[in-house]
Point group: C2
Chain length 649, copies 2
């Protein structure tokens, strides 16, 4: 970087290898700039050591607290998806992603090598994966480290890479060979990009370089402890020397090990890094630990958003027209693509058209770096709509894209959204932790749209039905995750506009894509969404003069279609003499807070006394939220699909 000016970020996959990146950030000076109490002196260094892997301190993996990171090395498997997402539409960025050989065994990681099949060297940056085979995980060897090296090479070449290898344990030879290989890889990447950007590219998917690094696990640590081999085995995982307080022999080994780094050459008498150490780092934002790409809020520009009202559906009267609510959103997203050619992408497992969002293809095709044919439609190397049949890739790419300051939406089938639920959970934790760190600027929200809902999959059956993700998101903090259940097309437009402007949330939007009754004109929709709930006077007979006898409360992804006036069912039940009120809620959960929109009115509406009589809940979504998949309620009494509940439910 000092020589080339290359902008780069690191992504460290291996679990407990965070110490290396924390140390690097400290030596680069970034750590002390961000955390002044961890200064570059003896007291600061002591603090740096003491907080490591301690309750209330920092984890032993790379985490939110580590400067320069957009990737947490806790739940393994996502280092490459984050790297690929980060470099999309980021032509000058190099994502250096270290894949541990333990992590390489996970499904999400194995499914993410194919990021190169979606990368465009002209417009996107590059990812340099470094597969670090040190041979072991917690308690045993790994598959890749014990396969014939030729087989590993074939595997990675099969994924589309040019494999460069560095192996050994000799010093300083390993350093020199690795540095030379790194320089070679960089040069290959720059050549690919240069050809593509000067019009000399034939359009075929490049063979991007990849480094396989083989070094012993626990390298340079104690070779043996208590007569048992340590270096090069799983025993050196995390804590190679235990009980150093009480075991003088272990303490001596630890001291010998640490002195082998020759600290007297690295630090001066005050504990500050010496000039040769400082001189190793590039300047300012070229330091990987200080890259603004890894603190993406610093680079975030607001999206150029058209007025969502321009896409409104004309609803002269409630429930008289039916429409596929997501089609209008597709038209809005088409123009978001048009007006933000390098800062917005849609991510979807092959369902963009199925989700009625196909209007985006008028502006951008699907991204694809592999061969296309004459029969293909809206797909190719210039496309920027990301379709891959992998929720893990879609979700992870979007995380990488937003954490580096760009905007996006992940649209997926409701039942299969659980595939990437753990990513949603971990991303929510990242956002929550980041919110506590003043130096981390807020990033674009991770927006998730579910449109193929549980209620529309009768023909596909139970496996395709399950409102699981909403349940997962509801367990996250309200200042990190929000759930939106817009009842119709115009409310969806209002909600989408809000979500695309928001920062550092997980926004989950659930709405059915099939033709559904439309309820609200655009201005009514805006007011309804701003309040989060509304009283639909036209659906009841309450004149506001007194307390109604019956309140019909409706919340969910699928408003009552079969009974456009929800009171009808009750009237047949003999309650037609009562005044009824219909509450059409568009819940933004968890509550509170309420995004600052008219919180009082919502709270007041919720507080209104409920009548003691029968309450009928048109709660299409509620069964899932309350703990049930549509397969049927459990033993106890539950709020069923359009089911009756007592007044205290």
């Amino acid at each position: 970087m000092r020589h080339t000016g290359q902008q780069a970020i690191y992504l460290a996959g291996p679990g407990h290898g965070g110490s290396a990146l924390v140390a690097a950030g400290y030596l680069e000076g970034t750590y002390s700039e961000i955390y002044p109490h961890v200064g570059q002196d003896e007291a600061g260094m002591l603090r740096l050591f003491r907080q490591f892997s301690s309750p209330g301190g920092i984890p032993s993996h790379v985490s939110v607290t580590t400067p320069g990171s957009i990737h947490e090395g806790g739940e393994l498997g996502y280092v490459l998806v984050h790297a690929f997402g980060a470099v999309m539409d980021n032509p000058d960025l190099l994502g250096i992603a270290v894949v541990g050989d333990g992590e390489a065994e996970t499904g999400p990681l194995e499914g993410s090598w194919k990021g190169v099949s979606f990368l465009n060297p002209e417009r996107d940056g590059a990812v340099l994966p470094i597969l670090h085979l040190n041979g072991a995980k917690i308690a045993g060897p790994t598959v890749l480290s014990r396969k014939d090296p030729a087989e590993v090479r074939r595997l990675l070449e099969g994924h589309g890479y040019e494999v460069l290898e560095v192996a050994g344990a000799d010093l300083p030879g390993m350093h020199h060979r690795f540095a030379a290989t790194l320089a070679g890889a960089w040069s290959k990447i720059r050549t690919i990009q240069h050809l593509a950007r000067t019009g000399e590219w034939d359009g075929a998917r490049p063979r991007w370089p990849l480094i396989v690094l083989r070094s012993p696990k626990g390298w340079t640590g104690p070779e043996q402890v208590g007569g048992v081999r340590m270096e090069g085995t799983w025993r050196s995982h995390q804590v190679p020397l235990s009980g150093v307080r009480d075991n003088p022999e272990h303490l001596a080994m630890l001291e010998r090990w640490l002195r082998s780094y020759r600290p007297q050459e690295l630090f001066d008498a005050t504990g500050a890094p010496t000039e040769p150490v400082r001189a190793l780092a590039p300047e300012g934002e070229l330091r990987m630990s200080a890259s603004p790409h890894a603190n993406g809020g610093l680079l975030t520009r607001d999206l150029a958003l058209p007025d969502f009202r321009d896409y409104a559906l004309d609803v002269p009267e409630p429930a008289r027209t039916r429409a596929e609510s997501t089609r209008r959103l597709g038209e809005l997203l088409r123009d978001v693509y048009r007006d933000n050619p390098d800062s917005f992408r849609l991510f979807c497992p092959d369902e963009t058209s199925s989700n009625r969002l196909g209007a985006v293809f008028e502006v951008s095709g699907r991204a694809f770096a592999e061969r296309v044919t004459a029969d293909d439609v809206a797909i190719g190397r210039d496309g920027r709509v990301m379709e891959v049949l992998s929720e893990h890739n879609c979700h992870g790419w979007l995380e990488g894209y937003t954490l580096t300051g760009r905007h996006g939406l992940f649209a997926t089938y409701e039942a299969f959204a659980m595939v990437s639920a753990s990513q949603t959970v971990q991303h929510g934790k990242w956002l929550q932790e980041a919110g506590r760190l003043p130096w981390r600027a807020r990033v674009p929200s991770l927006n998730v749209l579910l449109t193929s809902t549980a209620w529309r999959n009768d023909h596909n059956g139970f496996s395709h039905q399950g409102p699981g993700l909403i349940q997962v998101v509801l367990t996250q903090r309200g200042d990190v995750a929000r759930v939106y259940l817009p009842p119709d097309a115009n409310c969806l437009l209002s909600v989408a506009d809000h979500c695309l402007r928001s920062r550092s949330y997980i926004n989950l939007i659930v709405i059915d894509k099939q033709p559904q009754p439309q309820w609200l004109g655009i201005e009514q929709a805006v007011e309804h969404c701003a309040r989060g709930a509304g009283i639909w006077e036209w659906a009841g007979t309450d004149d506001g003069a007194g307390d109604p006898d019956i309140v019909l409360a409706c919340a969910g992804a699928r408003p009552p279609g079969r009974r456009p006036v929800p009171g009808a069912g009750l009237r047949r039940g003999g309650h037609h003499h009562h005044a009824v009120r219909h509450d059409g809620a568009q819940p933004r959960l968890p509550l509170p807070p309420c995004h600052g929109r008219d919180q009082q009115r919502q709270a007041a509406a919720a507080r209104r006394r409920r009548p003691d009589g029968l309450v009928r809940a048109q709660a299409r979504r509620a069964p899932g939220v309350r703990g049930r998949a549509p397969g049927g309620p459990a033993g106890g009494a539950r709020l069923g699909d359009e089911g009756l509940i007592g007044p205290d439910a």
Copy 2:
């Protein structure tokens, strides 16, 4: 199969290709044997067609209702993990697994090719993957179908397979070539197994055969519809011809297409399959649709279980000793391994020892078909403990293992259990649907043990904390999924014994692995677990004479450690004049039913009037269950970690 007597089951990965397997089961006669109303005549065939992909009928993918299947093709990605799990300890079984090229893009599928790195040809059966590259998914091409075929070959060879290829669209040439390739693959498999089973194997991982089949998507269907090419493109996905009722041209094309199968040669005048068609199928249980391996309850034998009381921890007095509760379970599992050498396996992402279950290694090492070294411990081709750093593989292998009638346990870290949460959900749905089909025999339960709990990861931080899976399992039906929170080692033994005897449940057991206070002697534990909750008289001052003033209710994975007598905190609060009662609950959720154990007593205990005064809940697990990760409560008042709640909470 007719010629060789080979026992085989099919596993169909591709989503909407279920029609092929339903049709095959119908032609083999199995369908009518299982569903007599779908007979082999005209009326039965009409029913077969009408129920297909219809609400209340059967899905268009292979599902629970399909005879011969242990795999549902809804949520894609698990066809190989199910196949590998099915053939473990099943030396005579061949699992023929068709991988769709859409499914092949998913992370879980890409992570599952390496099943061969854990297979032993001497003791296990074989998996024959057929990667069917038809070129497209719902709306576009797939990565593998558009890569250079040489690259695909390298990829699969890198995974360790010998790649056999069949490609084309000529008929009957394709049939002949595929049949010959299938025979060749079978012969290679038998040779590998024969060598291994006659002592002529050198111990190296075999190169198992794999077939890559390239045929056009929508093959033999209409080539063009409305002037647009259909066959060979994504347009032929699922419904190649629409609107046949109203479009006579499409109707004619449909008729032409269906007549191309020459139904007059396949069926007689009554609609029954003709003799040549019947003669194609093997006899009885050799029919893949009738294999008992795919209805594993038929083959399930009870485990030989030692008396769990023999592993009891001596607890002379409550809370005076501390112990790692899972160690005793490890000793029990060791003997389960010993006594069930071909019908029990433990599945774990590299954490068996970390979870204190390492005693199993006294009997069985870890399974590993790759190279082992002199430094390795308890690992090799004879091992049967399944460690792979992939929750997807662990979970899926166990599903395949139990659905074919064998027993097992999946032990994993609590926070990362969400990685495979969608598998848990889908397996629960499978069990629920299977429970409605009288012909599906009940199978061993899928047991999941979480021991590295949220509360023990302060040093690893927030990413390692999250009681997510319990939340997911709680949303499943109580007759399908159960949650166990044993408070100590002896309760864990009782719970484990119960779970290993149970059938067709998902049993989630959560217990901390670190040294914790021990509360109950083994007989007390047995009674406590049978009741599901207990009044711990020794922890309170209630003499049973009247209603207590204060009830301390405790439920969770981590009983109050810092205050062995939970009243202590309250006494400091000035409540020491009140009589207190301590309820130590070991909830088995969802409730009811309660496995028939003393349901009345439990219900009675729960009904006892709570006092109106302050209630202190030592609910270590409750925050997660009630919707919070340990990162902190959301805006509203919640039950916090050891937090105070009001009497109406």
